[in-house]
Subunit: 235 residues, 2 copies
């Protein structure tokens, strides 16, 4: 496995330096950018595994960049930890809303930073899965961010896609709504568990074609949650 690459985006060189030293000591590969423009270029170009993104930056703010990243198919799944000024609560909330995976309040200890990075990385095991997965006539291609049923392309929202991707990379196993929220939505969001039901429904619906109903692959495990399985339940 190749080393994890982390992009540090902060307009203060001193801070970048400090972080970089710590991370490299911990065995991470580091990239740096001092503004959102450069950062975006590096992200597209080098495809880091994680981005530490400062909130307050001249020209284009961190939140702007994050929004942009989340909009783009290619960078939608990129892990982002944002760095906020210590009392900037509003931004923090806003950041999580926009889709940061976590945030750290400045100033922070390297120990704390390490803990958060590890936690984030641990959570997203789906990260390396870049080959397309095919199961029972259903094909998901992470690269093009598309799903097919027998060569016929399907249409679904971002959340449904992530949900399906998670299921296809974790087949034959029951997950509670809470676990799905953790894995698909991220553990820092506060949404009702019932919301999962709704997205499951949307996903099931999206998986239906005239030919075949791949929605059946998503099974309800009563009292527990859901499961993606190619094995039908007995008649």
């Amino acid at each position: 496995m190749t080393a994890t690459t982390i992009l540090i985006v902060d307009d203060e060189a001193a801070i970048r330096e400090m972080i970089r030293v710590g991370l490299e000591l911990a065995g991470y590969e580091c990239l740096e950018a001092s503004n959102a423009q450069d950062a975006h270029g590096i992200i597209v170009d080098q495809r880091p595994d994680l981005v530490l993104l400062d909130w307050m930056m001249p020209v284009t703010s961190g939140i702007e960049l994050l929004r942009r990243l989340r909009r783009d198919e290619l960078t939608r799944d990129l892990l982002v930890i944002m760095l906020t000024a210590k009392d900037d609560e509003d931004n923090r909330v806003q950041g999580l809303d926009v889709g940061a995976d976590d945030y750290i309040t400045k100033p922070f200890s390297s120990r704390e930073l390490m803990a958060r990075i590890k936690a984030i990385m641990r959570r997203s095991t789906t990260r390396e899965q870049e080959e397309s997965i095919e199961v029972g006539g259903l094909k998901l291609d992470p690269a093009s961010h598309r799903v097919f049923v027998d060569t016929q392309p399907l249409d679904m929202g971002p959340t449904e896609f992530k949900l399906l991707k998670f299921f296809m990379t974790h087949q034959e196993r029951a997950y509670s709504r809470g676990q799905l929220l953790d894995q698909v939505w991220g553990s820092n969001v506060y949404v009702e568990e019932r919301t999962v039901d709704v997205h499951i429904r949307r996903l099931r619906k999206a998986l239906q074609t005239d030919q075949r109903d791949c929605g059946l692959l998503i099974q309800t495990v009563r009292g527990t949650g859901y499961r993606f399985s190619t094995t039908g339940v007995c008649a």
Copy 2:
């Protein structure tokens, strides 16, 4: 399912109040304490599911209490989220070291608090990982939450599943209806003992396939209860 109970420990009544209102609106059961002494008593006595612990408190500080909790076998696994003043970085780090599960920086939004609580609770209930058990053509897989007879999946209700799981992990031994209620239903519910009979019946029925009748594995021990056994019924 009984409501989640949260203990709020803060020396400022106003803050406690504010938090309590929010949590109760969200459906949590709340307890309050204004100092570490009281808090400890309540924890031991009422056994809350989670503690929101303010760091700065007169007499005994939050960290002191946390340390004490972590030392004691009974409270070692208690979930603790600490509340820190916004620029109190040292305490934060120290707190995570001592074993807080998470921290929130004051001031925080109720939304953020909710997110953290939910995330923590989810994480904690997720730590079960078990091997699948196989006995005489009957296989129970906790991960996928399914049961097979010779690769053919079976269908049964949650209670039947739990009952079967208990039997398969406690084979060759007779259990009274009372013991089964304790183990499978939980020791603090009151249901008729005869209810066990009905679920045994449902389970036996669910274990029947065209090929084989695994219901026979569940034997009646007259005057005592039931037993799961692979050996044929003795004379």
